[in-house]
Symmetry: C2
Subunit: 82 residues, 2 copies
DNA sequence: CGTGTAAGGAATTCTGACACG
DNA sequence: CGTGTAAGGAATTCTGACACG
């Protein structure tokens, strides 16, 4: 499920995060949505899962900087789950 | 892939159909998108595949009425492919 | 640092209708 | 019948900024 076709509002519903959080995680390079012509972010189901993991880590006290450094393992952890 | 999360503009890109065609096929009960709060249609990847099949059939001379009658087999054909 | 919010604009989607054939 | 299009409105998303801590 790598197709980036889900808009931010739907990702919000799917993850429970706010749009602000989602955009911030992108700004910190933890997630890389596709951009449609009009500039709208488009996410994949994999991105959705990844966002959930990111938020869990954040609640555990990790900072975006830490997560960026371990981005690879984050991805691994992600696909290793669901 | 049954989650209805793709908006019509993306479905347009994925299928090559126009929004008018997609809405018409819904009107004719060939496809059943979910509706978001604001009223926007949301489709699944399965719907996308189904729309492709529908359009192929239409080009082969079938009418929406015929396709509605064989909706079950249409779905079967659909999942039987990709 | 991570997130909330109000601000203004641009892009998206919706419906009902008229058109053609 | 199936599809194009212009029309007006409503919902969605975007960016940059100010706020708090």
């Amino acid at each position: 499920m790598n197709e980036k076709v889900i808009s931010i509002g739907t990702v919000r519903e799917l993850t429970g995060l706010t749009e602000r959080q989602i955009r911030y995680y992108e700004e910190k390079q933890l997630i890389f949505p596709y951009r449609s012509r009009g500039g709208a972010r488009k996410f994949s189901f994999e991105d959705v899962e990844r966002l959930k993991v990111i938020h869990t880590k954040m609640k555990d006290g990790f900072r975006t900087y830490d997560l960026r450094r371990s981005a690879a393992s984050l991805l691994k952890f992600d696909s290793g789950r669901s």
